[in-house]
Symmetry: C2
Subunit: 346 residues, 2 copies
């Protein structure tokens, strides 16, 4: 990914290019990535466009835009590779495109794809394949002089990565030495480095998180490390990853993210969300005794509401928690960054 700025991406988003949840990798790379996104592959929306980028129905139709790489830009539950997408990847390989894949199903472990890629002289890369030398956490992150800020939330796919990216960008615009620390497939696709902490051996979650924080510091995050959060500590499927990421990254501050209007974990109707104020106190409670952390502010995603509704939801979140709340996409990250900076060491 060192030559990231020169790449031309075709993003595979079959069936999900209009879905902000499962299509979040596509959206993140379009909005925050450094590569040129030349086309999006989704046969259900062929002929339409997303933010000016043409949507095509098959790989052949994308060739007019001269892509050099196809990126799997979809994050289905569980991370399995469906048959249709696999066929689209085969088409892309035959057309000479490199493949980047963020699913748990590795393309580099698929003998047929590996063989085809070799014959077509293209590269396969699995964004979630963990480094081979991971180990248990050691506490190396506790001694960094930077302030670690972790986004946490009430559910998956509600804007934790986006909040981290927006806050990082605004902090840097204000002259703060901040770095975005990627922990998932989309963050890695955007930033060009990172470890997918949900894909490591379970015993090494915290060890991977610790390593990422240390690397973020070395990459220039000498004041602030904005760690991309994952999942939720009340998510019945993914909470182990979230919790290990909390203890492994050992944040000083949390930014609590929530999609306004949501009442249950998406896809798990038997699992209600907790009220925001309870989520604040629960996160502060589960911090390691050696690294107490407090919630600095609330990043509220108001995309389901109109503007008046959004302002009401933000005011309600502030009243409920006593913390500054805002929608960093809709109204900009300024107020949350003000709140963060007020809680950084002088």
């Amino acid at each position: 990914m060192t030559a990231a700025a020169t790449r031309r991406l075709l993003i595979l988003a079959e069936g999900y290019s209009a879905d902000p949840h499962h299509g979040k990798t596509m959206r993140g790379v379009v909005d925050y990535g450094q590569d040129a996104v030349v086309a999006i592959l989704d046969s259900e929306r062929a002929g339409e466009s997303h933010k000016g980028i043409p949507i095509v129905g098959e790989v052949a139709a994308a060739l007019a835009f001269a892509p050099d790489t196809i990126l799997v830009g979809v994050a289905p539950t569980g991370g399995k590779l469906p048959r249709v997408w696999r066929e689209q990847l085969q088409d892309a390989i035959r057309c000479g495109l490199n493949v980047e894949n963020g699913l748990h199903d590795f393309v580099t472990a698929d003998a047929e794809l590996v063989d085809l890629a070799a014959r077509c002289d293209v590269q396969l890369r699995d964004l979630r394949r963990p480094p081979a030398d991971l180990d248990v956490a050691t506490g190396a992150n506790l001694d960094l002089p930077a302030t670690t800020v972790l986004t946490v939330g009430s559910d998956c796919a509600i804007g934790k990565m986006t909040a981290s990216l927006e806050l990082d960008r605004e902090l840097r615009a204000r002259g703060v030495r901040s770095v975005f620390v990627p922990t998932g497939q989309t963050g890695i696709a955007i930033a060009g480095w990172g470890i997918g902490v949900d894909a490591v051996v379970a015993d090494y979650i915290a060890g991977a998180a610790e390593r990422l924080v240390v690397e973020g510091y070395r990459r220039g995050g000498e004041d602030v490390l904005l760690v991309e959060g994952q999942g939720s500590i009340i998510h019945p499927g993914y909470s182990g990853v979230t919790y290990g990421l909390i203890h492994g990254s050992a944040p000083h501050l949390y930014v609590l993210c929530h999609l306004a209007g949501d009442t249950h974990i998406e896809g798990f109707p038997r699992h209600p969300l907790l009220p925001l104020a309870e989520l604040v106190s629960l996160h502060e409670r589960v911090s390691l005794p050696a690294r107490p952390a407090r919630v600095a502010c609330i990043a509220l995603n108001t995309r389901k509401l109109d503007e008046a509704g959004a302002r009401m939801a933000i005011a309600a979140a502030e009243a409920e928690t006593g913390l500054v709340a805002d929608d960093v996409v809709r109204f900009g990250p300024g107020r949350l960054v003000d709140a963060l900076q007020a809680q950084l060491p002088a």
Copy 2:
């Protein structure tokens, strides 16, 4: 493991046969396993014995006891295979012994060992190798009519598995349809089935736990499922596994385990333990809203104390928490099982 009762084990415990922490697999298999343990391999204690089992300094010296399998009976931090143990395994393979290994370093992924095993016509088995078809949790466990009891604790290697095994045995002796549900290498070595939840892809921790609970029910745990706990929710390295296991197994009741006298996480001197009463409330707090759980009783490990000290520690734990506490090994599981049964559905 179907022919478990006929096997004759040599347990590799090099350097750790006297260590109740890192030698816990050896001790668990000796105390609770169904196989005959014919010898223990630890060159530092050659000529001594453990519970009547001879300790030998090299594989050749064990052959007089006719072992058919060598079991790696040590659980080092991080689960890596040291060079010396690897050489001892090579010796054992050359002597015709099958290998069972519970480390994260898989013997079946070690080309040299695989090749040697093939030439010597012996089997290699990795207890921690997860099933290939794991996936994200679905909530299948929430509908089981059995009561799920999970052991949790203040640290690793303090007696969670032992407490689960002792409580299970006593419940069955009282006519309760109970099953021990193994979640780690030692539990698997003892019971002959299970998944090492610390070795699965992090996203699948809860999915693996859920599957184990469902399987435990099918194996006869129609009244009680005694799930072997892992790690601690305040452990800086392993807490993600613990937390995912809590949400994935969705217990109704916890048994809180603690090694009396411990004040810090072993090996992590910067990480203090929480007081027992705080651990009780923290575990009850982090239960999923869809499955609230309470701590049923305290399993106190008093092995560092004399008998008078043990009785004082137990009384102090009861006074601090208001719950029944006891040492199930030293004083038997009777009082804790009484407390558990009082909290089962009528």
